[in-house]
């Protein structure tokens, strides 16, 4: 795993422009998602609209993982693992390191979303147990789907 950390550090240096671009997208996405939590989920007639927002959030949150899994080469997206495949790196270690990276980002963001949502309920809306439960379920659904997508993505990216 230390070898992978060194690789990532070196890769970030070599790929700094791309990583910077993805970091800008990551922070914009993060602020947007946290901001969304002030209003969503809507409860009442507009409940269905939540699902559009939900899928958009999942799509947006998936972007920041990309530079740790893929690289653009010869105008096509290619898995980083595939380029390292002849080195003695274990597939399990690659998968674990990418999952750890994802978990680190997703857990912090999920916590921030819960805090913002609850503050919003108590300051801007009529607080009720049902409202809190629906909000927590909304956030849970986002992050469960996001985790499943990340696991699938990492699995695909780490095939030979």
């Amino acid at each position: 795993m230390d070898k992978l950390k060194k690789f990532d550090a070196e890769f970030k240096k070599l790929n700094s422009y791309n990583i910077l671009l993805f970091n800008v997208i990551k922070y914009l996405t993060t602020f947007f998602v946290i901001g969304t939590m002030i209003v969503f989920p809507l409860i009442g007639d507009d409940f269905l609209f939540n699902f559009y927002v939900l899928f958009f959030l999942i799509y947006a949150l998936n972007i920041p993982m990309s530079p740790y899994l893929y690289i653009k080469q010869n105008k096509s997206r290619i898995s980083i693992y595939k380029l390292m495949r002849d080195t003695p790196i274990r597939r399990e270690d690659f998968v674990r390191s990418r999952l750890r990276h994802f978990a680190n980002y997703a857990s912090k963001l999920a916590s921030a979303c819960i805090v913002v949502r609850i503050i919003s309920i108590f300051t801007l809306e009529d607080p009720s147990l049902l409202r809190i439960l629906i909000s927590l379920a909304f956030i849970a659904i986002i992050f469960i789907i996001l985790t499943l997508i990340a696991i699938f993505d990492i699995y695909i990216a780490s095939r030979y």
């Binding site: 070898k3 060194k6 690789f7 070196e10 890769f11 070599l14 690289i71 080469q73 010869n74 595939k82 380029l83 390292m84 495949r85 002849d86 080195t87 003695p88 790196i89 274990r90 597939r91 095939r159 030979y160």
Partner: protein, 214 residues
């Protein structure tokens, strides 16, 4: 010594069937066969951890899957497939990848590359086919590989470069405990340069014999 023992693939697509042979150390073993015979698949069984098969592939008496990372430390796969970080320089590729190997000899790598007149600053994608093969050979030597797998490495090479290339391989097996397994279409290569020859057809090993000296 690389040994296949009754290896049969479990893929839904193309599979090798009941492959058994031994590529001994200190010799060049060649695999031949028409396109689609299973030559590249044979290599994939060795280098790809996710390939499923029954039977065993042993390297120096140990099943390669028992400690795959350790096996990869000893193995070099040389082909014209676009591996490595093509848009980065050789030096950057070394910075990224050399750290994964248990023993990396940077001095040896630089020496070999200099002897081939390949600058460290050149992008991998800018290397000619011959330079790319030489780079891979230098890379393999630097991580102290003892098993060389060469997939159609000499296809399309001009005769002078091919002669140079085989001189390097013969030097390797003369000085170190090296096992070389390579695939080729060129019959002349087999009779002149190889010690053992296997013939694959439709995923089956039709024959495996010592090459008779002409």
């Amino acid at each position: 010594m690389l040994e296949f023992r009754n290896v049969t693939g479990n893929s839904k697509k193309f599979n090798l069937e009941n492959i058994s042979f031994t590529a001994p150390t200190g010799f060049i073993t060649g695999m031949t066969g028409v396109n689609g015979a299973g030559k590249t698949t044979l290599f994939h069984y060795i280098i790809d951890q996710t390939q499923l098969y029954d039977g065993e592939i042993l390297y120096n008496g140990r099943n390669i899957r028992d400690n795959f990372a350790n096996f990869k430390n000893q193995m070099a796969f040389i082909s014209d497939e676009k591996r490595f970080f093509q848009d980065y320089s050789i030096a950057d590729n070394i910075k990224l990848l050399s750290g994964f190997f248990a023993s990396w000899n940077n001095k040896l790598f630089n020496e070999k590359l200099t002897s081939c007149n390949i600058p460290l600053g050149r992008k991998i994608s800018a290397l000619s086919r011959g330079e790319y093969l030489k780079f891979q050979l230098a890379f393999s030597l630097a991580h102290n590989a003892t098993l060389y797998l060469l997939d159609e490495a000499t296809a399309g090479m001009d005769p002078i470069f091919r002669k140079d290339f085989f001189n390097i391989l013969h030097e390797l097996i003369a000085n170190e405990n090296i096992t070389i397994l390579m695939t080729t279409h060129i019959e002349e290569e087999i009779t002149i340069h190889m010690d053992y020859k296997g013939v694959l057809k439709d995923g089956k090993l039709l024959s495996f014999d010592e090459v008779e000296v002409a």
